[in-house]
């Protein structure tokens, strides 16, 4: 049987500390793709919890593109929030 989700992408994002990587993970893992979605998304923490690894698999290229784009926006937003409160982001 052919792979139904052939369009894949993995993004590995290193953080300065495990705490910040974990905060990003906890923030972004909450919004799941709908059960019957044409995109699958998996998040995990790697390298002693300092790298956030996000994996996408989609049925179509354009779906992969839009899912990735929206994730990058939210990833940026959580990182910008950390940067906005440096005293709390140690």
């Amino acid at each position: 049987m052919a792979d139904e989700f052939p369009w894949c992408l993995t993004i590995d994002v290193p953080f300065p500390t495990a705490r910040l990587a974990t905060i990003a993970y906890n923030t972004l893992v909450v919004d799941e793709e709908p059960k019957k979605s044409d995109v699958r998304k998996t998040l995990q923490l790697l390298q002693n919890d300092t790298v956030l690894s996000i994996h996408f698999a989609a049925r179509e290229g354009r779906l992969l593109r839009s899912a990735t784009q929206s994730m990058m926006n939210f990833l940026r937003l959580t990182i910008d929030t950390m940067l906005a409160f440096p005293d709390y982001a140690r």
């Binding site: 905060i23 909450v30 919004d31 940026r76 937003l77 959580t78 906005a84």
Partner: protein
């Protein structure tokens, strides 16, 4: 003293509010995404707007309240109903600061936020609530730990009719289409006949917008008369159903909440009906009527005080979330 922050971004307004448990509002800041005339707000552009402004708005809220993150006790955010990506944009920041500052979170129903804010600001005790906005039109009364929906629109929200008429007539969306329609309506002189649809406790508005679009296309009628006729007809429908809810529940108070609720003509028409029944009308101005962060902070604070906390893993958003799904455990 407990202090709550509220994040609201379910539609085109992004609001952050800070409130204290004695009901004192410490901050209420808002930034609105205003599309050009003739256009509505699309989810993608609205999310982009929220992402662009949310952090400066948060700083502004903390500064105007003269508070540090350490002074905050609970982080509240809008869970729904609303637009997916805009909701998540506010929630992502709420989740992040909750972890950075090590604070608990409370997920709030947007409609409940409007109601609790209205009760706080006006002091209404147990009113029939008319909730009128761009996405909702409901007549609500509290009973046995639920805000029960007595009547509602069976098609589109009344504010949606205002927003669509503004698009058809190329009226500015700044500060809101409804506000500009209210100003034009003041100079209307002729009442054009529009479909008046009340079915029991429910109302319907697609007939009105359809007819308005047809009338507008003929170029025979002034903007002023179209706006005036919309207000007179749709508000009469809302007053009729609110009166029926008063009769049904025996309530003497009426509270109007939601963006359309800042309309003075609606308040005036409602006041006439309520006065005839020897009741009392409560309404607020645009600071609290229009979507804002305080309403989410206050409703969340009320929930938090009775022990409601939303675990981080469950702080998702949902586009559909009915008013009567929420257990109102903070009221007797």
């Amino acid at each position: 003293m407990t202090i709550a922050v509220g994040f609201e971004g379910s539609a085109n307004k992004l609001g952050i509010g800070i409130v204290r448990d004695d009901g004192i509002v410490l901050a209420n800041v808002r930034h609105t995404f205003v599309p050009p005339p003739g256009e509505g707000f699309l989810p993608r552009d609205t999310a982009k707007h929220h992402q662009q402004y949310v952090l400066s708005l948060l700083q502004q809220a903390l500064t105007s309240a003269s508070l540090k993150p350490a002074d905050i006790d609970v982080i509240c955010y809008t869970k729904g109903p609303g637009l997916g990506a805009p909701l998540v944009s506010a929630a992502v920041v709420a989740r992040t600061v909750a972890q950075l500052w090590d604070k608990p979170m409370v997920a709030v129903n947007h409609c409940i936020g409007h109601i609790e804010m209205g009760r706080l600001i006006t002091g209404a005790k147990d009113p029939v609530v008319l909730y009128v906005s761009g996405g909702n039109t409901q007549v609500i009364a509290y009973s046995m730990n639920k805000y029960r929906i007595f009547g509602e629109t069976i098609d589109i929200a009344v504010g949606n009719v205002f927003d669509r008429l503004a698009r058809v007539l190329n009226i500015s969306n700044d500060p809101s289409p409804g506000y500009n329609i209210e100003q034009l309506a003041k100079r209307g002189t002729t009442l054009l006949e529009l479909p008046y649809t009340v079915k029991g406790m429910d109302v319907a508005f697609t007939g009105i917008i359809g007819k308005l679009e047809t009338l507008a296309r003929t170029n025979k009628y002034t903007k002023e008369d179209l706006c005036f006729s919309l207000q007179e007809t749709s508000f009469a429908m809302l007053v009729e159903t609110t009166e029926r809810a008063m009769a049904h529940t025996g309530a003497t108070e009426v509270l109007i909440v939601g963006g359309v609720g800042c309309n003075k003509r609606l308040q005036e028409m409602m006041e006439v009906m309520v006065a005839e029944r020897n009741g009392k009308l409560y309404a607020t101005d645009e600071r609290f009527c229009i979507d804002n962060g305080v309403m989410i902070a206050w409703a969340g604070l009320e929930m938090f005080r009775v022990g409601v906390v939303t675990p981080l893993r469950e702080t998702w958003c949902t586009q559909r979330y009915r008013t009567d799904e929420v257990d109102v455990t903070w009221r007797d």
